[in-house]
């Protein structure tokens, strides 16, 4: 028996913007099917066709060396560690060759999500050289690289303003910027989970400048650690405000903290030991869809949620299955075990089973006609 949310439902029906207080009531509303009903109504208003899109891409983690040592991360190695690595250009090209063999050569159709640690040895010229080489060599690749955190650090190391750093990266071939590193946009929370990391306003500023330069970016949220529901709402409000200002976010992606082998996961004083559930994910995605009325696309988080909840999320406001992600290392280092279960054929089956046609898109959400070659993947593995 739950509280009445019909006043909020009628605002949703009329397409009115929700307040923070209304978002809080939705987060406190346990009838998750009802939240799904409302979020799905909004999703269908924005995407009336029975289509779920997906992207062909892979993650490349060019280095795991990172001095920031965030407590929620199991991927990094501190500078000086003998487990630290930085991929050579040849290694990176080999990974891209695999992706292109799979995804085909339509221009800007294959997404490279290249991110890494904050490695003190890598300066702006390293990135300019690497990005421009990839751009020149692979016209089919969309370079969706470098989180705000990395960009801030590159600017700092190179003693350049953010705007100049970003425009030089863009001129070298950077097409768009992923939303990673947002975690929860609240400095109290950031102090607890990764105090050396960039501040809330710094993360937002990178995206603001990128949008101003005509680059598109995505927005993320990592929840389920030390934050409260109010922190989640504050996070969503900051994203909504920036989107009102710039319109530069293409998508919203949320996932829950993966605790395995992280300092935060092992610290019972900071973290309550309760990994966020699928129930919480569906609720969070639905409330975000209802509140974030100005961000167009919502991506499924199958790597962390698994195929069952990811598929159900398609009825909770999600319109896009995300990337085929031929490689993922970061959340996989922290315990998620779903990477091996999601080939393109399974992804398409889940989409069809939910009543939609799967449709390939690129990072800019334009339709890609080329069908990926599953056999290329089999040959590579």
């Amino acid at each position: 028996m739950t509280a009445d949310i019909t006043d909020i439902a009628s605002k949703v029906g009329d397409g009115e913007r929700l307040t923070d207080e209304e978002a809080a009531r939705l987060f406190a509303h346990p009838n998750v099917a009802e939240l799904g009903l409302l979020a799905n109504a909004v999703r269908m208003r924005k995407y009336p066709e029975s289509v779920v899109t997906f992207n062909v891409g892979r993650n490349i983690n060019y280095t795991n060396v990172c001095w920031v040592k965030c407590d929620f991360c199991a991927f990094y190695r501190a500078p000086g560690s003998d487990e630290g690595y930085t991929l050579s250009k040849e290694q990176i090209f080999a990974k891209i060759d695999e992706l292109v063999a799979f995804g085909g050569d339509e221009p800007k159709s294959n997404e490279i999500l290249m991110q890494g640690g904050l490695n003190p040895k890598l300066r702006l010229d390293y990135y300019e050289d690497l990005l421009s080489d990839i751009r020149d060599r692979y016209p089919s690749v969309q370079l969706h690289c470098l989180s705000a955190t990395e960009i801030i650090y590159i600017a700092h190391l190179s003693k350049l303003p953010l705007a100049e750093t970003l425009s030089r990266l863009r001129d070298a071939g950077l097409d768009s910027i992923p939303g990673a590193g947002a975690e929860i946009l609240n400095d109290d929370v950031r102090d607890i989970i990764g105090f050396r990391k960039d501040r809330t306003q710094e993360w937002l500023e990178v995206h603001r400048i990128a949008h101003g330069l005509g680059m598109r970016t995505t927005a993320t949220m990592m929840y389920g650690h030390v934050e409260s529901m109010d922190h989640r709402i504050e996070h969503l409000r900051l994203l909504r405000d920036l989107q009102d200002e710039t319109g530069g976010f293409t998508a919203f992606i949320s996932w829950n903290f993966q605790p395995d082998d992280t300092d935060l996961g092992a610290d019972s004083e900071r973290w309550n030991g309760m990994k966020a559930t699928g129930f919480d994910h569906l609720r969070t995605v639905a409330v975000a869809r209802l509140y974030l009325d100005n961000i167009p696309s919502f991506q499924a988080s199958w790597v962390t949620q698994g195929p069952r909840i990811a598929q159900v999320s398609l009825k909770y406001g999600v319109n896009d299955f995300g990337s085929t992600m031929l490689e993922e290392n970061v959340v996989s280092a922290a315990g998620t075990s779903h990477m091996q279960q999601m080939g393109l054929d399974n992804m398409e089956r889940l989409i069809r089973d939910a009543g939609y046609d799967p449709q390939r898109r690129n990072t800019a959400y334009a339709t890609v006609a080329t069908r990926p070659r599953l056999e290329a993947l089999a040959a590579a593995s």
Binding site: P30, A33, F279, G306, I309, V312, R349
Partner: protein, 386 residues
Amino acid sequence: MIYQQQIERAGLTAIHAKVIEGQRLSADDGVRLYESADLPILGYLANLVREARHGDTTYYVRNQHINYTNICNKSCKFCSFYVKPKDERGYVLDPEQVAKRVTDYAEVPITEIHMVGGVNPKLPYQYYLDVLQAMKEARPEAHLKAFTMIEVAQIQRIAKKPLAEVFADMRRVGLESLPGGGAEVFSERVHEDLFWTKADSDDWLAIAAEAHKAGLPSNATMLYGHVENTQEKVYHLCRLREVQDETKGFLAYIPLSFHPERTEIDHLPGPTGQLDLKEIAVGRLMLDNFPHVKTFWIMNTIEISQVALWYGANDIDGTIMDYEITRTSFEDTEQRLTQKNLLDRIVEAGREPVERDSLYNIVEAADVPVAAHEYVGQQANAGSLA
């Protein structure tokens, strides 16, 4: 209002009206529900029924599972548990071993023993009675729930007695109810394909009805997500509903999510999360005369089962300590769940956990304290449908 608009857009207005008025849904309504892609609306409708009957109450039971034999001559294609007679991996627990399994858990506050096994043609009639008696003596206060309708068919065959007498014998040595397994899908086509040696739907339903008349309530299941079609599932639900009108002996309906791993039909992808939730919702909406709908988290995954509490399920099973049947399939991906986790999940979902006994009497918390982090079972990882 947006709810009405969405229900209308989904073509479910007439069904919504029937649900509100408490009218029985037709077989055509069942097909329409299955064919709907509007999952949250199905949940919304099923939840109206669930809350009208049970409010926020979410039952769970603490029980012990015992599988007395894995030897089975049925060779069902969807099963990864059985071995054929003569296979060296075959086992049979004798009455003393079964009793030891029970006494091994004497410190764990269970209220029910759930025992099922393969159809093992070597076992004499007296074996079944001895096993029941040994369990009852080992733990007299625990409710004894044992033998699917399929096993009962075999037991009757060797007993060479009318079913009523078999049930009377079993009640005398302690049997109190029957589980709901072995129903699979009531379809000649599926029966021929996947489990042709087993009792068919008419037999299953007739044995269940006889059990109910003999004073032994049971559950009912449906195994979905393999080769069945929508019409067959609707037929299954309608047949269960007919028998229930007659006997009132079914306690709970439990849709079972097929897991293809290590079965003969492991080329099938298995059911999706949306189908898992849809089965709970359609079951709740169609089976208007079943008191309870249970989500079995061992097969649904705990992630889906928690959400299912808003799709019509009012019972989450459960607190299971030795479930060999799924362990065979899932040993690569097992996850452990403690009693505390299970209750936390129910509470997080905004529901009220209530411990029940086998007949849905409330077990007072004071009598059976909840042991924090008590180990209660294993599940397939949420990703096991790959």
